[in-house]
Amino acid sequence: MLFGLLETGFPLFYWGNALMIVIGLGFIYLAIAKKMEPLLLVPIGFGMILVNLPLGGMMDYEMKLRAPQAGTVMEVRMQEGDAFEKGGVLYKLDSGEIRTPVFGQVDSLKISTGQHIEKGQVIASLITMEQTNQAEYPTRPVGLLSRIFQFGVMWQILPPLMFLCLGALTDFGPMLANPKTLLLGAAAQFGVYLAFFLSLICGFNMTEAASIGIIGGAEGPTTIYVTSLLAPHIIGATAVACYSYMALVPLILPPVIRLLTTKKERQIYMKPSLRKISKLEKILFPLVTTVIVILIVPSSAPLMGCFMVGNLFKECGVTDRLTKTAQTAFVDMITIFLTLAIGASMPAQNFLQPRTLLILILGVVSFASAAAAGVILAKIMNLFLKEKINPMIGGAGVSAVPMSARVVQVMGQKENKQNFLLMHAMGPNVAGAIGAAIAGGVFLGILG
């Protein structure tokens, strides 16, 4: 207590909070000094700092703890205001112990020593920052960022709307000009399923493994959307892994591409001019894609539907105001809400677990194997194609649009100054975005 007047955060501040603040500062440094995805890393980093300053309350949820069994209270082990870790003993009954299912702080105690309680009776009110299974342990958001997280992310509103904005920013022209690059985007989804399997082997359950695997789709909204439905308790780790690795694509992609290609292959020249795409084709593509994909995978409807309607706004030519809004103010608003909330979903108690490190490792494996699969398929396609494709563009199937394509362009220029691979790489890049949304929908359809 400060001068006996107000409670400070110092007594609850521990090494975990300090480490998370350092990580948050690291993200902000990468964003400002190294210009790495600043629109994502600045708010994520700041959200991490905010949530690791104790008693700030920004990411608090209130949980009414109900008695799992009947009994008489023999001892009350905690007081109001006490902080506890997950599994801490709250009450000792004659019939056993009642432990806290989350980490957090005691807000109020509803019973006292000697009182008899029935199963299901509300026995305490807890404050926690942990994401819980709402069916088992319902919580109510009481902080600013917990409300944004609950009603924006957990209600699956912000990720599809972000995808709408991405659709409005995406040009499918290069892919339509060379539609075989759809295969390269498909091949890149191999990373998703490889990481899914590896996650199962590492001890994660099916829903967690799917949430980890989808990191390889390299689409932040897809990862957040799938994880919020399948494994919300690891959403912080998967989201930060996805967005971090998207920012680190210039570091992850080149070694993978160099390992799998020869110098001669990297120098394969691709003609710069692509087929001109008519306006009608560009209008029909989002409509046809929506119908085909959602009929086959209905659970992909929110993501695919929003992605394609955003693209239709852009291509139809008669909704300029909607397009401009989606490309500017709206996407910025969604980005602010989503990234602050994601950053704030990483309190130290949740994030600093061995499984978080596993998730980060599996995430990079997912990314790298996605790129590898795209490159390998491009090399296989070259066995059958008269006009060879530069296999590096297969690496752009990792759909961190447009960073992967830019990385391939830079690598292509280094190998052959005459080679302009950007538009060719955009084909698999945007195809990967479609593939990731479909992969997410498939996981939700099977496991949701």
Binding site: A83, G87, P179, V192, L200, E208, S278, I292, V293, I446
Partner: protein
């Protein structure tokens, strides 16, 4: 006040004990490996198949729009 995690605190025994390289909670015998294989192989096949289908639809659309443009001329 009960401070369970000041700077020098050790985690309580109840929550400790996770082996470093394995996530907590699921033994490999608890996973339905049949469903896992179906999910992975079927899922990847479905994604691939849908994108091939989209490739086909793009080509069909191109042919139709070229024909419409040709007829207009």
């Amino acid at each position: 006040m009960l401070h369970t995690y000041p700077f020098s605190c050790v985690r309580p025994r109840e929550t400790a004990g996770t082996r470093f390289i394995r996530a907590r909670g699921v033994g490999s015998d608890m996973i339905d490996w049949g469903l896992a294989i179906k999910t992975a192989c079927g899922g990847f096949g479905l994604v691939f198949g849908i994108l091939v289908l989209l490739w086909g639809s793009v080509e069909v659309t191109r042919v139709i729009t070229d024909k419409i443009a040709g007829d207009k001329k």
